[in-house]
Subunit: 422 residues, 2 copies
């Protein structure tokens, strides 16, 4: 891997030089002050007028749904699901491979360097993503629909995936997705939790996404909320990444804090599917929950743009709390970067020496940054992700001046496989 | 003005050739079927793989605030206003000129071809915008703060602006902005309304933006809402463009419909300033109100991107109505295009022969359009405005392959004047 020198880049307001070596940020110095020995093996990038920012960590997505977006719009959930399930019945590993390439391409172009994925054929998604240079954290999806045969089959397959994952590099976490309490039987929830914990794997689960989920759970489990029910089963812990966490009681929030659960807010999906908007950021934060952001799958949101997710998350929080101070920018930025790294136990999410070099190089030479405002204000509230000029991921340049290697081929192959499916 | 031929462009799902002549769409034919005599004076654009869409009409903005965005974030309204007013006290026509250039540049790059503006020194904004080729509709702002001297001064100045506007071309509407009921005295509201109506000018006014405005109005005017109060004064009519219209009673909505008022929803501003989110789209639409979209000034929203405004408007409507079918795509598109043209009485907003040639050329060769979904679904919910490759406005090419003539100079001059101000 070729070392990289980012010259004259603004980092936390100071003009800096950032050195990247062996996948890590090896040195940060004031620009021009210390010039290291640069031989021809070093890739030097002149970043004058550009600003460095940590790569985004998308903490909840189903990336291979990238070619299912928009197929059924402005319709109620059951019509949407019928269409999606119809498409999912026909997917093949080949489809997953190219759809995952499309997703990885979109994530890179919008500044995501790490994503936590929940979908079928996840080793294929992982392969596709790694070929583009983005860091995938994939899971095996447990979803038995209360069917014993499915459960038995999934236990075997889970074991195969886990064996496969042993050879994967350490910095791409592998986890077990327990889809949700309504789609996975209680014995299977218990089995998957124990399976994951014995092997120190992360657990991913949809929790309290809709009011219906909460009401159904209460009816089925003696008045327990999904959070209380999962706690009774012993599922909750710091190794749990709970997607959505939208319909929570005060005691749910206390419990999530006590168990040190990580919660992922997916605002655009929640809005578009009319799941709800009252994400209790401040209460969760005060209770000690680690709060992350995700885009959800692009069939429901409809893209993988974390900068858009940041803006909408902040805007919604301000309006429903009737408080323009809600979810301030610095905390919002942490939710999109370092909090995700913490949840995934990865050495990234901040731009410091010794951290994995996951770096966005942001071009501020456009109208969106033309005001005497802090970088972060204009980046989140004003700009779009196309101001991200270049992306370094794990020490490699995966996008340079908005160009990702092989983009055209990906689009062509994706179109072909999509036409084959329809 | 050079005629333009857009070859092989997708229009409403069909591969078409669009001919533009003398500022208008002069012919639309099936691609390749009829080839007109093309001499060297015709600019031929190969639009293979691209889709045509009407230029957006931003129906409420304060465009010269483009260099004030982000200066005070995550703070309550009064702190925000103090900062903005501090900056506004120092503005000059030179500042307005370059800030308006920045705004016009941003609007073109995000697909807006016409905007309805409310701000100081509006002839300067108009000049700056026209130099970039975008269609400005500007207003004289009446805002006397209940001060008689200010009112007398503004009556004179309004007359000067109106005289100036007589020489402006017919297709750029001039209007009178009555800022709001709390900032303009009753005699001045009456004067401005009569002044506008006698001259057949549009009237622009902020109406029921916040709950406080409604409650203050009720307290001051014997229980009348702002809508009822304005109706009692004889202000409401089809020539009125009412920004925000957020806090409305059922009878307000009926009244707005009966008077055929045009209402402008500015979702991002309403969210960010925590003004509210319960815009009653369906009720207003059912009552016969012409509903348009705007971005508001970029100090409060924080950009001029109509595609972003479309997406957020639809998402919010779906979630607060708990109905994923709310504000369907076709109606949303009309709110961002043809409804604005209707309110401004302009011959644009749809791509038909005889209409003003305000055309977006959208590049769909990217991940956002890679699904078997209708163009509009992916354009609004998935893509960003940077998929807009070229823009034709009033029959002129104002952006080609994402390049706007003079962009660099605008950014440089704007930076200079901004530094001078601070």
């Amino acid at each position: 891997m070729k070392p990289i020198l980012l010259k004259n880049i603004i980092l936390n307001g100071s003009l800096s030089d950032i050195f990247v070596c062996d996948g890590l940020i090896s040195k940060i110095s004031k620009a021009g002050q210390e010039v290291p020995a640069i031989d021809s093996g070093v890739e030097v990038m002149d970043c004058s007028g550009k600003t460095a920012f940590p790569g985004f960590i998308n903490m909840h997505t189903h990336s291979a749904m990238a070619m299912m977006r928009g197929v059924q719009e402005d319709t109620a959930l059951h019509d949407w699901l019928a269409k999606i399930w119809g498409m999912e019945a026909k997917i093949t590993p080949d489809y997953i491979y190219w759809a995952s390439k499309v997703a990885a391409l979109e994530m890179i172009k919008t500044g995501t360097t790490t994503f936590y994925d929940q979908y079928w054929f996840s080793p294929t998604t992982r392969k596709a993503a790694m070929e583009l240079g983005i860091n995938p954290c994939v899971t095996y999806v447990v979803l038995d629909r209360h069917d014993k045969e499915a459960a038995a089959f999934q236990k075997d397959e889970c074991e195969q995936y886990y064996e496969m994952s042993k050879s994967w590099k350490e910095d791409s976490a592998f986890g077990i997705s327990i889809h949700a309490i309504y789609s996975v039987s209680e014995p299977m929830i218990l089995w998957a939790t124990e399976y994951a914990r014995k092997r120190n794997l992360l657990i991913h689960i949809h929790v309290s996404e809709t009011l219906k989920e909460v009401e159904d759970c209460k009816a089925a489990h003696g008045g327990l909320t999904p959070v209380e029910y999962l706690d009774r089963l012993g599922v909750l812990g710091p190794d749990v990444i709970a997607a959505h966490s939208l319909w929570l009681s005060d005691s749910d929030i206390q419990l999530l804090g006590e168990r040190k659960v990580n919660c992922v807010h997916n605002v655009n999906s929640n809005l578009k599917l009319a799941s709800g908007y009252m994400f209790k950021y401040q209460e969760l934060s005060d209770a000690g929950v680690n709060i992350c952001l995700g885009t959800d799958g692009s069939a429901s949101s409809n893209n993988l743009d974390m900068l858009e997710a940041m803006k909408t998350s902040a805007l919604l929080q301000k309006v429903w709390r009737n408080n323009p101070e809600a979810w301030p920018l610095e905390e919002l930025a942490a939710s999109a970067t370092s909090n995700g790294a913490k949840a995934l136990r990865l050495n990234t999410g901040v731009l410091e020496v010794g951290k994995r070099a996951d770096i966005l190089i942001v071009d501020t030479d456009n109208t969106f940054f033309l005001s005497p405002a802090p970088f972060l204000a204009n980046f989140v509230y004003s700009a779009h992700s196309d101001c991200i000029d270049s992306v370094i991921c794990g020490g490699r340049i995966v996008m340079k001046n908005r160009v990702v290697h092989g983009e055209k081929e990906i689009l062509e192959n994706a179109r072909k496989i999509m036409n084959d499916l329809n």
